[in-house]
Amino acid sequence: MKHKLFAHILLLAMLLASIAGARAQLAIEITGAGANQIPVAIARFDGESVLAGGVTDVVRADLRRSGLFSLIETGPQPISETAVPDLVNFRIRGADAMLVGSVVAMEGKRYEVRFRLFDTQRQAELGALALRMNEGQQRATGHRIADFVYEKLTGLPGVFSTRIAYVVKTGERYQLQIADADGENPQTALASREPIISPAWSPDGSKLAYVSFEAKKPVIYIHSLASGLRSVVANFKGSNSAPAWSPDGSKLAIVLTKDGQSQLYTVNADGSGVKRIASSAGIDTEPFWSGDWIYFTSDRGGTPQIYRVTPTGGNLQRVTFDGSYNVTPRPSPDGSSLAFITRSGGRFQVAVMDLASRQVTILTDTSRDESPSFAPNGRMILYATETGGRGVLAAVSSDGRVKQRLSVKAADVREPAWGPLPR
């Protein structure tokens, strides 16, 4: 294993000459990398030149961007999976693993991409797969291949095929956008002259719940991404905000002011069955549903702190105690840790708490952090922050080592939400 820290900056957009430059797109810079990078050789696949842009450039960009891999040169010569490659040679060049493959054209502009992954040290095959794709799906296919390599080499599912949602503010226009996890292929789900906040992915990834101010007040909507059909989940007198899906997607935890101050309720996804689940004399907000708990922010103790309660309103517990401002609780997908925003010395930073030991670590060196959102494998946390007076997205690994910045030219980007693994 190399213990090299990569200091160079990669502008992912540069790899994509084929994408039209006019669209507002997230550009990703890597600002820190993992301490233990796995050196991997990704050969050009035999026959991949039939696909515009190929597929292995996407695989390499994904793996490099994760900060967990270093790429070993394989040269311009494609290497097919039909024969075992010269693994000793690539081991000598420093690779611990090697991916080889081929692209085979089929009838009707369809293609089959076959690939094998080898362990060069043990000279053993780690797995093989064939994916069939239509013309134009080479990026999606590349992400699937990168997911395969990531999972075989780290033991965790890859998140290269996931999508992210975020809000772009350009002048007085707000757009709720959905993009691939690498910032490519941005699509606008909602364009409005009024603010949009708090997007939350349904567990199946087909819908977003969010708060839109298009009715001059905060109202919660559910939006089916494929059809664009929307429904109102909560438009009660007062403010309606902070939607959070239940793990089975049937309900949402929400915040309403219809009975006084901001308080927690649950509601069925069709807007029926509103139930109050907690009561306080102060503010209760920012629920996040994780297994048997709903985490939330409350100032019932005098300052905003994080609490948790069961979905039926039982077993209330305070979770954070240090400091005077701990907000936006976001449990990791496995429920073992909690990301949140903490204020200290006038800075707002992403922190993570190990829920077993209650130990807190501040992960970022930025000072205007908001809205943390875990990747579905728990490895990275996407959040909003500010650089040069402009809203940008950033990502940090849950150990604080890998850091990335995602920005859109001449626009404010905020309110990120990392979508689930594709089904």
Binding site: E125, G127, A130, K152, L153, A189, S241, T257, I283, I341
Partner: protein, 180 residues
């Protein structure tokens, strides 16, 4: 370091003989075929553009700059949700109008400065809107005529990161029927 899958015995045997010898056996046959379900799908997203709310003023009295009713904002101190005494005359003017026009409704939009969590700031803006609503209630305006909501930090009147600017944003605005 990593997970290793079970390696077919034949492959192992061959590899253990001489690792650097390329194999040309028909390894392609063991590639898993995922054709049964579509392997790669490109999800679609459809764009929605909400209709603009119909604007326009309810009547001249509310918008004429020489009328005290054209003043629609009350301001709050840092971390405070209590109306300043200097706001009371303006609140009284609006209360009198609402009592005299029971068919007209008011939307109060509370606001907060930009520091900290958006949703927590939404809740803080709500406290300011509610403070103004209760002041109007005390002057005889029923709740049925008023709705208090929050815009949080989303609609700042001023966008510099300075105390003077943040003070502008710690406010509640009054809108009348036809304006929301």
């Amino acid at each position: 370091m990593r997970k290793t899958l079970v390696v077919p015995a034949v492959l192992l045997a061959l590899l253990s003989g001489c690792g650097s010898t390329p194999m040309s056996s028909d390894t392609g046959a063991t590639v898993e075929d995922r054709n049964a379900t579509p392997a790669v799908q490109t999800p679609q997203v459809t764009t929605v553009t909400p209709a603009e709310p119909t604007g326009g003023s309810y009547m001249d009295e509310l918008t004429n700059p020489s009328s005290p009713l054209s003043k629609r904002s009350v301001f709050f101190d840092f971390d405070s949700f209590v109306l300043r005494s200097e706001s009371q005359p303006l609140v009284e003017v609006h209360a009198r109008f609402l009592v005299g026009h029971p068919d007209v409704r008011m939307l109060i939009q509370g606001n907060a400065d930009e520091r900290g969590s958006r949703e927590y700031n939404l809740a803080l803006g709500q406290k300011r809107a509610d403070a103004l609503r209760r002041a109007l209630n005390l002057l005889g305006v029923p709740d049925s005529q008023i709705e208090s909501v929050s815009l949080g930090e989303e609609k700042p009147r001023c966008t510099d990161a300075s105390e003077g600017c943040w003070a502008e944003n710690r406010r509640a605005d009054m809108l009348y029927t036809g304006e929301f």
